[in-house]
């Protein structure tokens, strides 16, 4: 029986109290290690259609009579529209409808950041819509923008009240510490730049709305649009069968969906609203910049006695305060911790979740600070981390459902041991070094999430659930789980997903939650079908149910005899085996977290400041790995994005006007194939015995978390310079080298 409980739900470190209907999860976990299908490398089941360009992205959808939208956006960081005349746009060729701020609350006359939408035009073609924008008569009263996060905190311009956390007595502990280090770290504003831009196509059918959208959360889009247009949620159908990347920026409906739906309502036509690449870089979400003023105190044996941090998040005009202090609170067994996080309200575009929001930034600061401390203590950085390993969660005293960070360290040793050899390869101006960084993050997923399974008389199964595969390969992982439970080869399982009208509620694809949320539901549904097949076989072949099992596409009897599954299922004729599964609860009173360590090797040209990452080894603990091939791709992708975050990517603003200077993909420098080092990936691959019928946690985010700190620590190892500001451009590298030289001179002179 299902139980209704009041519980804490976590997505990307944001907790909320809510009622959840929890279903039983009676299945025992499979044994650890590779099984028949689960735990073995599998090609993506939709790989061929994606590779051939046949996958149905929102960008490729063409509805009959479809109109295209272009938006007029504020060129100013702060400005008020003093005059607006849209009539010339209404009269422009091909224009079918124009929206202004009176028509919808996603448009405004008071622009508070560059790119905030003011008006929208729908026309027969995108070119016509864009051309019509030029006819709009508009006058602005330009205001002084607030762009400096520290200044915003001083003025009290905050997006929410400062978030304070404390345990123990930091002041007393610092007074007693043998060594205290303090440093200020800065991280830059980063842009997601998924290759498919934010977009939706909306079409009304009677009083119902159909939405095709590039999204990470079909059900969230459904609920947001239902509320906006005052519809029963099931009158909004949301479809996303394939999408071209999200990285956190596509968790919500966005203004573009509302504009497309409103324009479709007014014109009676399907309407596409797709951001251009420049709009994508202007105002579609970002990983906000941070300033982190950190202090660590330790005894001479390396025991951390105090950690403190003041964190300023440059949230932008609106958004939420990502947990930049999370790693400082969670990663180490430190009794005395105090953090304050400020969300600076600025005339810049709102932040959005971006692959482990807060933790990527906070881990850079914390893990660099740890290495600065190790240097002062003359202690091996890996040993320092071992000595401060947290055996239980110090934030709320709960035990971990599973934690294999020490095993990650043990497996990382072989990579860490390369540092003498790496340093010895320094030559001329090129100095080489090795650095490491640890990582923790959420990733346990949770209820509710549901899946159905349909088994046909041909002995093939289809998983039906309205989740989305945002490119991480979760569709394939679900097929593997169903195949394993049904004893079927992978090629006999299909997955029908991506349509809120054609499947049950499924998890958001954010917070590394898709596999841990959906996988157990899929397994439960498969077990439901397996039970039905065994009941049929027991009756047909006169066996007791308890002696029958599903293996290798057959129903096998322990007392002799086996029958191909399609023969048993064939008895169904037009009938089907229908299975239903729900995600069970997370373990009560436990913290479910993911862990890992990365070891980076770099070469630094101390004359030019050029930094080359030569190798990164990653060891992660995410419970049971479903598809080792896809998992290795996730880690590689996270690391490569992390390298971009560390060395090249940066949204630049004009410091006076706040205008975004990096609006194109040649100005905003994402890594290319030529920037990729050797990457070695390894998983502890130990099922979490307390977590669901699978023991799997999520993997989307952990690999990007420690990369920047590991690289910065390797740079310190190579050069003795402390880089504390991202991105580590040549200018920043040369500044840090100069500072290190000056400190050396001062030290020698003193």
């Amino acid at each position: 029986m299902a139980r209704l409980i009041r519980t804490e739900k976590e997505v990307e470190g944001r907790y909320s109290e809510q009622w959840i209907l929890v279903e039983e999860d009676p299945l025992e976990q499979w044994p650890a290690g590779p099984l028949d299908v689960v735990g073995r490398p599998a090609e993506r089941i939709d790989g061929i259609e994606r590779a051939r360009g046949q996958a149905p992205y929102t960008a490729d959808l063409r509805r009959p009579g479809m109109l295209h939208t272009a938006g007029l956006r504020s060129p100013y960081a702060g400005a008020r529209v003093s005059r607006l005349n849209l009539d010339p746009a209404r009269a422009a060729p091909g224009v079918r409808a124009v929206l202004e701020p009176d028509d919808t609350d996603v448009l405004t006359l008071d622009a508070c950041y560059p790119g905030q939408p003011v008006a929208a035009v729908a026309a027969d073609s995108f070119e016509q819509a864009r051309a019509a924008l030029a006819h709009i008569e508009i006058e602005w009263e330009v205001l002084e923008p607030l762009l400096d996060p520290d200044e915003a905190v001083r003025r009290g311009s905050l997006t929410q009240e400062a978030r304070r956390y404390a345990r123990g007595d930091v002041e007393a502990a610092l007074a007693d510490a043998d060594v205290v280090v303090e440093a200020e770290y800065r991280t830059q504003t980063l842009l997601h730049n998924a290759l498919e831009t934010h977009q939706a196509v909306c079409e009304w059918r009677g009083e119902a709305l159909e939405v095709w959208i590039s999204t990470q959360y079909i059900w969230g889009v459904r609920d947001e649009l239902a509320e906006h247009f005052d519809l029963p949620p099931d009158r909004v159908r949301v479809v996303c069968e394939a999408m071209g990347g999200g990285f956190g920026a596509k968790n919500g409906a966005g203004d573009y969906s509302v504009l497309a739906a409103e324009l479709a309502r007014r014109t009676g036509r399907p309407v596409r609203c797709a951001l251009t690449r420049r709009e994508e870089n202007l105002a579609s979400g970002n990983r906000n910049a941070t300033i982190q003023r950190l202090t660590a105190g330790a005894r001479s044996d390396g025991t951390l006695v105090a950690l403190a941090g003041d964190f300023v998040n440059a949230v932008g005009w609106e958004g939420w305060l990502a947990s930049t202090a999370g790693p400082m609170q969670m990663l180490y067994a430190c009794e005395n911790v105090r953090t304050v996080e400020y969300g600076a309200k600025l005339n810049t575009a709102p932040m959005a979740a971006f692959r482990a929001p807060g933790f990527v930034e906070g881990t850079f600061g914390l893990e660099c600070l740890l290495d600065e401390l190790a240097a002062r203590l003359e202690l091996d950085p890996l040993e320092l981390r071992r000595r401060n390993h947290a055996d239980a969660d110090l934030v709320d005293g709960r035990p971990f459902s599973s934690k294999n960070l020490l095993e990650c360290y043990r497996r990382g040793e072989v990579h860490w041991a390369r540092r003498e050899a790496v340093r010895a390869r320094s030559e001329g101006p090129w100095r080489r070094g090795v650095g490491l960084a640890s990582q923790t993050w959420y990733g346990g997923g949770g209820p509710p999430s549901y899946a159905w399974i349909r088994l046909g008389s041909d002995g093939r199964a289809t998983v039906v659930t309205a989740m989305q595969d945002i490119g991480t390969g979760t569709r394939t992982a679900m097929a593997q789980i169903a195949a394993e439970e049904l004893g079927l080869p992978l090629e006999r399982v299909e997955v029908a997903l991506g349509d809120s009208a054609r499947g049950p509620f499924a998890s958001i694809s954010a917070g590394s939650s898709t596999t841990p949320s959906m996988g157990p539901a899929v397994r439960a549904a498969a077990a439901d079908v397996a039970r039905q097949l065994i009941e049929i076989a027991a009756q047909r072949y006169h066996r007791e149910e308890r002696v029958l099992s599903l293996q290798n596409g057959e129903i096998v009897s322990a007392d002799g005899g086996s029958w191909p599954l399609e023969k048993v299922a064939g008895l169904l004729g037009d009938g089907q085996g229908l299975g239903k599964g729900a995600r069970g609860p997370n373990p009560t009173g436990m913290r479910v977290l993911t862990f890992g360590v990365q070891v980076a090797e770099v070469a630094v040209d101390i004359e030019t400041g050029e930094v080359v990452v030569e190798r990164i080894a990653a060891v992660h603990d995410v419970g049971r790995v479903i598809n080792p091939l896809g998992a290795s791709s996730q880690v590689e992708g996270g690391i490569i994005q992390g390298i971009g975050h560390t060395l090249s990517e940066q949204r630049l603003l004009d410091p006076e006007s706040g205008a975004v200077l990096t609006q194109t993909l040649d100005a905003y420098k994402v890594p290319t194939i030529a920037d990729v080092p050797e990457i070695v990936t390894e998983f502890v691959d130990e099922p979490d015995a307390h977590l669901t019928n699978l023991g799997s946690k999520g993997l989307g985010e952990p690999p990007i978390i420690p990369t920047a700190a590991a690289i910065a620590n390797a740079i310190r190892d190579a050069t003795g310079a402390d880089v504390r500001s991202l991105p580590i451009t040549r200018a920043e590298m040369l500044r840090a080298l100069k500072e290190a030289r000056e400190q050396t001179y001062a030290h020698e002179a003193g």
Partner: protein, 169 residues
């Protein structure tokens, strides 16, 4: 009307002057395998071949194509690279993948056994935000016969001998 030679066939289209080849392929010919991700020639997602040469179709005016043979991903759907990309897991979200495969097809045509540096040079104009690059290198290496047996390595567990969960059918 324009006559375009695409994937071995001849198509008639009436694009407005100023239209790009990418938009014409996608909007008029329905060949949506060619993706437009930036629209200004910075990312490579729109790569097609013109007489075998990789070309950014989003910044190629369709009226300049003339008699050149256009090859899109639809014309390469049975190319060994397509299967190599899937086997190597060089496909995550997949939005850049058709352009990657088109670029790679020109590379392996011109240089049957490219060095790693040649691969990086030839592929550096095709951005992948998911970071499939290591797997792209592996897929190209498999097609050029350089390390086919290593295709499914990268499997993160220590025991490289674990066989694939490929269907037994």
């Amino acid at each position: 009307m324009l006559e375009l030679r695409v994937n071995g066939g001849v198509y008639r289209a009436g694009p407005e002057v100023g239209r790009s080849l990418a938009e014409t392929l996608r909007e008029e010919l329905g060949l949506t395998g060619t993706k437009v991700a930036c629209g200004e020639g910075h990312c490579g997602a729109c790569t097609v071949l013109l007489d075998g040469v990789p070309t950014l179709s989003c910044i190629t005016l369709v009226h300049t194509v003339g008699e050149q043979e256009v090859t899109t991903i639809e014309g390469l759907r049975d190319h060994p690279l397509v299967h190599a990309f899937v086997r190597a897991d060089a496909v995550q979200c997949g939005f850049c993948t058709p352009g990657q495969i088109v670029s790679a097809s020109a590379l392996v045509e011109a240089s049957p056994s490219p060095s790693p540096a040649e691969v990086r040079h030839a592929m550096a104009g095709n951005l992948c935000r998911c970071g499939t690059y290591p797997k792209i290198e592996r897929a190209i290496a498999a097609v050029t016969g350089q390390e086919p047996e290593q295709l499914l390595r990268g499997t993160p567990r220590g025991d490289d001998g674990v066989p694939s969960a490929k269907p037994d059918a």
